[in-house]
Symmetry: C2
Subunit: 477 residues, 2 copies
């Protein structure tokens, strides 16, 4: 395919994409097929000779679309949103064309520098303390990670390295392996599974901190565990707080937890993967109070800030902590500016070496929406969640299971878990809307997350009518 054909096919693809998104409501949100459906539909081997673009696009409808869970459908209420917007898609086209791999400043200066400045823009939208802004002091700054899992892991690894060095400095006779084996990381029992996984990868113990009745970790609970573990000769070194937990969007109390971590030399990482986007609105910003105590902070614009996946925004207070943990410098990656102190080589900030030009997506989205447009998006989706909450509360058969603060509503039928499992099965089987469950205090709970950018009040009303209809059938049986 040459550039001339690309011009033609590119236009066709732009139209296909626009058609897909304009008519997505007409597709069942969740596919109706069995595992292994795809293999029989296509050949067992790649073709020897080229096929045409028409052949492939026919197969997109025949093979792919029937198997897609339509995350961008306004009837998708599962997990958390996967952000999508036209400006982000346009920026991704440009990023693909430039096709640079931005592992160091020299590998593509624009790729690195736009990222640093976009992370400052975003940090300022959130009113992050100045210590996290690269422009201000040069000690802190931001980086785009692929996912929150990677941010959590990078923070844990940096904390591990820092803790080992600290203990070695004060007791040089202790072997590294012994220090390593005594390290303990902490997170909420409500934290995302990727936090536990980060500890497994890092080879350190992890303890789950119990939560209060709003599913939040409080200072006294963490303090008690830290003291117990220190008395037992262990070395607490890392606490991952969550703002907006996956099950119920609960908020750990940073203002209580931060001072405890700082006093105890425990790295505090704050994971606000979903909820972080809302902190651009002044009315939600108080939930981020206490961030000044954190060593690192992360949230996913690719969830709720209209920047297509992947774009996970991470800030560190002291870049030396994260860079110092894993700096390996072969000659083929060296460049003349790197020792100047002026440049950032982002490969030291992340697990992978290679990286795409992802900051273009942020730049396009921030400029084409403006801060006001982004705030409107957040507020609209929170209002839709509140609308759904009101519908649930008005129906005596149901109960709300956690305070509705952002775009997530946790609800259930009063009564047994089995009854709720049956309701969810009916919902899944109907394929009109898609949602997933969670567990709260031993109860099976339905999670209703407002996800698609195009979700409107009529979709919420329709979803609730559908749920109550299925409930009626269920209670009849």
């Amino acid at each position: 395919m040459d550039a001339a054909e690309f011009r033609r096919r590119g236009r066709e693809m732009v139209d296909y994409v626009a058609d897909y998104l304009e008519n997505i409501e007409q597709r069942p949100v969740y596919p109706d097929l069995e595992p292994g459906y795809l293999r029989p539909l296509i050949p067992a081997e790649a073709p020897l000779e080229p096929e045409t673009f028409e052949d492939i696009m026919r197969d997109v409808e025949r093979v792919i679309m029937p198997g897609v869970t339509h995350w961008q459908s306004p009837y998708f209420y599962a997990y958390f949103p996967a952000a999508s917007s036209f400006p982000a898609m346009l920026a991704d086209m440009l990023s693909g064309a430039i096709g640079c791999i931005g592992f160091s400043w020299a590998a593509s200066p624009a790729c690195t520098e736009l990222e640093t400045v976009m992370m400052d823009w975003l940090g300022r939208m959130l009113q992050l303390p100045e210590c996290f802004i690269a422009e201000t002091h040069g000690h802190g700054g931001g980086v785009i990670q692929g996912t929150a899992s990677e941010a959590t892991l990078m923070a844990l690894l940096a904390a591990r390295c820092k803790a080992i060095r600290r203990v070695q400095a004060s007791s040089p006779e202790t072997p590294e392996a012994e220090i390593f084996s005594k390290l303990v990381a902490y997170t909420s029992e409500q934290a995302h599974s990727s936090v536990e996984r980060a500890a497994l990868i890092g080879g350190v113990m992890m303890r789950k901190v119990p939560t209060d009745n709003s599913y939040a970790v409080r200072g006294d609970m963490l303090k008690k565990m830290l003291e117990e573990d220190k008395s037992a000769g262990l070395i607490p070194f890392y606490f991952c707080a969550t703002l907006g937990t996956t099950p119920s969007c609960a908020f750990d109390r940073l203002t209580e937890l931060g001072p405890i971590c700082n006093e105890g030399n425990v790295w505090m990482h704050v994971d606000a993967a979903y909820a972080g986007s809302a902190f651009i609105c002044p009315e939600f910003r108080p939930l981020l109070n206490g961030i000044e105590f954190a060593n690192s902070f992360n949230f996913n614009p690719h969830k709720w800030l209209l920047v297509n996946f992947d774009c996970s925004a991470m800030w560190v207070k002291n870049r030396a902590d994260i860079i110092g943990a894993f700096k390996v410098e072969p000659l083929y990656l060296k460049h003349e500016n790197q020792e100047s102190g002026l440049v950032t080589d982002y490969r030291h900030w992340q697990i992978p070496l290679g990286r795409r030009f992802r900051s273009l997506k942020m730049w396009f989205v921030f400029r084409m929406y403006g801060l006001n447009g982004l705030q409107s998006h957040i507020r609209k989706q929170v209002a839709l969640a509140k609308e759904f909450e009101s519908l649930v509360r008005a129906d005596k058969r149901f109960e709300i299971c956690a305070e509705v603060i952002m775009g997530l509503v946790c609800f259930r039928l009063k009564g047994s878990n089995e009854r709720n499992q049956n309701l969810l099965k009916k919902i899944a089987k109907s394929r009109e809307i898609h949602l997933v469950p969670c567990q709260l205090s031993g109860r099976f709970v339905l999670r209703f997350a407002v996800c698609a950018r195009t979700t409107e009040s009529r979709h919420i009303q329709q979803a609730w009518r559908h749920i109550t209809q299925l409930t009626f059938e269920l209670l009849q049986d």
Copy 2:
């Protein structure tokens, strides 16, 4: 921006992309600017109100393009190629529109199933042993990782888990921390820096194996180190072999190394990040012989197989090894089909949780090029490297520093390292071509890698004329 505007702006972007790639030779391949150039060119904060698409595209030329290292330019000979093709870009547009996050089968069945089948297609193109093909036995299979660094790390972590379990099974009284502290990983002294980094992340020792005079690891060298370390009470558990090293594209001898690893319970991971693409050509396939001994294998279609970044292809012989290492299953990620044994939940195979629909890129590229088209691309680039090699060999002032097997030529001016450093400085300053150095046997060497898809003989000839002109000036001084 609504769908109607996206149709218009999408077309404009398609044209911008086509224009960029058609006229890329007219841009200096490497930017002429100082660190920190970008920040003064744009505002310090995001705008409150939306800006127009025209504003942004003007700034793409004003702010971004002057700071881009043009990896797709036919005058770019640095690092290794970053693959780019029109079919891959079209597929990425579709992937962005679908915007699904394929962490589990249920999260988007098509995303998971196309990936499994595409990895089988690719495995068959490489004539991988059947044990790596998912269709055949169901024990092995492939996964798309973001980068080779992540594949190396996942393999090391799986090997670490397997080794600890094995030792614990035979001596249950040994504490895990003690086993952990005795684990040793191995790789070539010529291996990529990301392998050393994987060991740092995994918290295990790593020893570098010396190479022969073709920069390859031989069986006897590894064997000697394993025996020494075992005698010292250590536990060798992981060896990362390289096919096509970054400095000089050397090939470790799998047929010698494989049996040694298998006998010693050492996980052999094979990293062919760059060279792997060439194994689709029968004439290069013998270099992969011995892969039947490997536990895992990885190469980057996003380097040399025309699939845009990111797409790193990894196969494992026994999927249970990699899945078992880090399986964490919260209720909100469970789905009804997962226990059937028929489905793949790729989140267990990788570091991140989220993942894009990347197999679409493979599908579009494999079908629109066909195997013959892909082989032609590899052969053409190898021929261009051979052409450059001939030019170097015909000039008595220069020497070739490693056998030219694929698209990389390592060469230098006879004489001091300083002389070669000065030549490279002149090349960098002129900004007509871009290449990076490496170190081989203590010598400073220039790496000339054929990178862009559109590189032709005339570019090679022009590059060499340019280098000899600068050499002439250098030797005059």
